[in-house]
């Protein structure tokens, strides 16, 4: 089989990033900062949204989705569930700071970064919400 020097598939669809950008800014979040990120206090309320997504097929589809979502600093963690598919039929949970973004904000950002997004019922509380 031919060998390849490394993995270098398209990281993210630029058109989707363009779509996602206004949403990021509409949430009042700068895309970058000089100071190291300080974790939000444990007392700050969090919320979660569980999603089923079909992403653009690419080698780094999951990473590209994460990078797009994390530009919103209200998004604290995107946790992926193991699944048979690589880019399709993936299930994930987005934990976000409820005071800085709404569920709709997160859904819009996810929809802009993923090809198809379906909200799912939340799983019972696991206690791992920091």
């Amino acid at each position: 089989m031919p060998r390849r020097t490394g993995v270098h598939a398209l990281v993210v669809n630029p058109r989707r990033l363009l779509l996602a950008a206004p949403l990021v800014f509409s949430l009042g979040c700068a895309p970058s900062a000089h100071a190291p990120e300080v974790p939000a206090p444990a007392s700050e309320p969090r919320a979660v949204v569980r999603l089923r997504v079909d992403l653009d097929r690419a080698q780094d589809c999951e990473e590209a989705f994460d990078l797009a979502l994390y530009r919103n600093r209200a998004v604290e963690l995107v946790a992926w569930e193991p699944g048979p598919g690589h880019c399709t039929e993936r299930t994930l949970t987005v934990r976000y700071l409820a005071g800085r973004a709404s569920r709709e904000d997160v859904l819009r950002a996810a929809a802009a970064a993923g090809a198809k997004v379906t909200p799912l019922p939340e799983l019972p509380e696991t206690g791992d919400r920091r």
């Binding site: 031919p2 390849r4 598939a9």
Partner: protein, 707 residues
């Protein structure tokens, strides 16, 4: 006498050949050895003198913590074993310093310098700098390596002075450059840049590749512009080693300014350089490279190059890529059509479907087979009708790949097809399936937890044809009691790699078996077996097991530092609070080179109350001045609470100190929790320092590759 398994012994002997700096004879260490741990074999002496030498070594070892002169008059044969010296940690520093200054034996001085580097005690720095004037090049080299291990800006002048000597060995000078790179200080960078810009004189060793690699390690203290300029210069050079190193750098920098320098390298005589240049062009993604890549694609003559060009073009101009690959897929030579199919699969985009479906009716079975594999990788259901037609084909490889592709697309729905055609025993009169075919099918079915693969997979594991990691998902999914029982049986037969699986499945009878195994292995001095048995008791244990472990403390084998650490970890997990203090004590004094391994063992603790107590102490150490200890503490917590601990490691990843950056990277690469990957992505998305961003990207690539 302590014994180790033959494989570990072989590894130790191989490592001995690779570590000339440790001329001192030492025995091997095990338990997930870290990549740069000193592992050397003790020189064999005559049987008669062995016992006497061992007694002398013990005596010298016992004297070292209290007597700084203990090593002045020892010979190589009398020098204690390296694990024993490293286990002393900083308590051995004064004796090692005097050894370096006053021992007349070149080999012993060399060993003492190496130990000082591994221990990482900064108080050794002045003496190490002074020892750069040692008469023997091999000792100077060992000293330079030690200074690399304890990087400090205060060493720059002494190293520069040594480098400037015309009569110094080329190997020592090359090591000096590496040490300067590890220091990561502007004054060191100035020396390295000067060396990089200097053409070697006739007959002089060309050290520019070493200077470049060292500079690359210090890139965070350079301005981006200067760095890119230096990489551009290095790409435009006749020294292949330098050009190759620069192509790696270009791939990480992803600076469009380098495109012009990389494009001509696509025709370089060195295949490695050609491929790396294309790889870098793909990552840079500058449109100006597009034309050159499109011209190159139809004429390329090796699969790897084709693949790299394809990926570069796929990023730059997807339409142009598919137009061009269409020509390659229709090439008159089958081998080129085969490669086109392979590339289309690796790109994993549905645009490749029509070309691959055409390839499925290619006259060459090999092209068809590669097309089937590619369709499986793309995973688009639209390919199913074409693939279904190949399920009954006479060519076994094509049939196998078509079935796997269908299974890859459809998953569980087609488990019967995979099982019936590629795993189930054939009927009498039908030619049997090759074992490799059945194994692959069983592993695929195992990944979806199909219990029809159970017998095959367990047997495969028992006979050593399958690795524990390959059946990990399966054994966790299959709830049948026989699975745990079989694994426990294999574990008792010496398959120590099954420890984690047995611990997870907790088969009936595992605890008494593990406890007895620990007692037996400790009393016989079987260190590896004892360590895994102790780990298992720590996982499964209870009060009575703790009492039995407690009684083992007095065993002679417990003098082995790692056995003791495993035992303390097990005892801590079983609720013995003083064992926690012992582990923290080890963290504070253990040789720096061993800290990553210690973090790996302690990080396995799962009991919340033990973690909570230890975390309080670990957090204090994370804020301490000794970054080796601080990062080991953070690495332990990374296993327990990735979100809470990753901040310290990310801070180190941006440290001005090269050593801290490298260490943080090492801990972050090896952490198994997928949450660490998610948190690294979060950090990457929000990072704006270019060099830190590069590091994070490279870290994520490495984690993906290791997975």
């Amino acid at each position: 006498m302590k014994t180790r398994s033959p494989r570990r012994l072989l590894a130790a002997i191989l490592a001995a050949a690779l570590l000339p700096t440790l001329g001192a004879a030492v025995r091997a260490v095990a338990d997930e050895p870290e990549p740069d741990e000193p592992v050397v074999a003790r020189a064999a002496g005559k049987a008669g003198s062995k016992a006497a030498s061992a007694a002398t070594r013990q005596k010298v070892l016992a004297a070292m913590p209290g007597d700084a002169t203990a090593l002045i008059n020892v010979t190589g044969r009398e020098l204690p074993a390296s694990p024993d010296i490293l286990a002393l940690g900083r308590r051995g520093t004064p004796a090692l310093l005097r050894c370096l200054a006053d021992n007349a034996d070149e080999g012993v001085r060399r060993g003492c310098a190496a130990f000082l580097g591994y221990i990482g005690d900064r108080s050794a720095l002045p003496a190490l700098r002074a020892a750069l004037e040692d008469w023997e090049p091999s000792v100077r080299r060992s000293v330079v390596l030690a200074l690399e291990r304890i990087p400090d800006a205060g060493s720059v002048d002494a190293l520069a002075k040594l480098f400037a000597r015309k009569d110094e060995d080329a190997a020592v000078r090359a090591d000096v450059l590496r040490a300067l790179g590890a220091i990561g200080h502007k004054s060191a960078v100035a020396i390295l840049r000067k060396q990089l810009a200097r053409k070697p004189e006739a007959g002089e060793e060309d050290l520019r590749p070493e200077a470049f690699k060292a500079l690359w390690r210090s890139r965070h203290v350079m301005s981006r512009d200067t760095l890119i300029g230096d990489v551009a210069d290095a790409l435009d050079n006749r020294n292949d080693a330098l050009v190759l190193a620069a192509t790696f750098a270009a791939a990480e920098l992803r600076a469009p300014r380098l495109t012009d320098k990389l494009v001509p390298l696509m025709d370089h005589g060195n295949a490695e350089i050609r491929n790396k240049a294309v790889y870098a062009l793909g990552l840079i993604g500058d449109k100006t490279a597009e034309k050159a890549l499109l011209v190159k694609l139809p004429t390329v003559r090796d699969g790897r190059m084709l693949n790299n060009i394809a990926f570069a073009l796929e990023r730059l101009d997807r339409d142009g890529f598919y137009a061009s690959i269409r020509q390659v897929a229709a090439h008159k030579q089958a081998i080129i059509r085969l490669n086109a199919a392979f590339v289309l699969g690796d790109v994993r985009r549905p645009e490749g479907l029509p070309l691959l479906e055409t390839a499925l009716v290619d006259p060459s079975d090999l092209v068809k087979t590669n097309a089937a594999v590619a369709l499986g990788k793309i995973g688009d259901p639209r390919a199913l009708p074409s693939l279904e037609t190949l399920v009954t084909t006479q060519n076994p490889s094509l049939r196998e790949e078509a079935i796997h592709a269908i299974f890859a697309i459809e998953g569980k729905k087609r488990a019967d097809l995979l099982h019936d055609e590629l795993l189930a025993e054939r009927k009498p009169g039908v030619p049997p399936l090759k074992d490799a075919v059945r194994r692959r099918a069983a592993l695929a079915l195992g990944r979806i937890g199909d219990t029809r693969a159970r017998e095959y997979l367990l047997t495969c594991l028992e006979v050593g044809r399958c690795r524990p990691a390959q059946i990990d998902t399966y054994v966790h999914a299959d709830k049948d009691a026989s699975v745990g029982g079989r694994l426990l049986l294999d574990w008792t037969r010496g398959q120590e790699s099954l420890t984690a699986l047995v611990a997870d499945l907790r088969p009936a009878g595992a605890l008494p078996v593990a406890t007895s195994a620990a007692e037996s292995a400790v009393s016989r001095g079987l260190i590896d077996s004892a360590e895994s048995a102790l780990d298992l008791v720590g996982e499964l244990g209870d009060g009575p097991a703790r009492e039995r472990l407690d009684r083992l403390r007095a065993a002679p084998a417990m003098k082995d530092v790692w056995l003791e650490i495993h035992a303390q970890t097990a005892l801590a997990r079983l609720g013995e609070v003083p064992a926690e203090a012992q582990l923290l004590g080890r963290l504070d004094t253990l040789a720096a080179v061993w800290l990553p391994r210690l973090a790996g063992v302690v990080g396995r603790i799962k009991e919340k109350e033990v973690r909570d107590r230890l975390a309080v102490e670990l957090i204090k150490r994370e804020k301490g001045d000794d970054t080796g200890i601080a990062l080991a503490a953070a690495a332990i917590r990374l296993d327990w609470d990735p979100e809470g601990a990753i901040g310290r490691l990310l801070e180190a990843l941006a440290s001005p100190q090269v050593k801290d950056r490298d260490l943080a990277e090492r801990y972050l690469v090896r952490a198994r929790d997928p949450k660490v990957t998610w948190l690294l992505r979060r950090a990457l998305a929000r990072e704006d320092r270019a060099d830190v961003k590069d590091r994070l990207r490279s870290l994520l690539d490495r984690r993906r590759d290791e997975k």
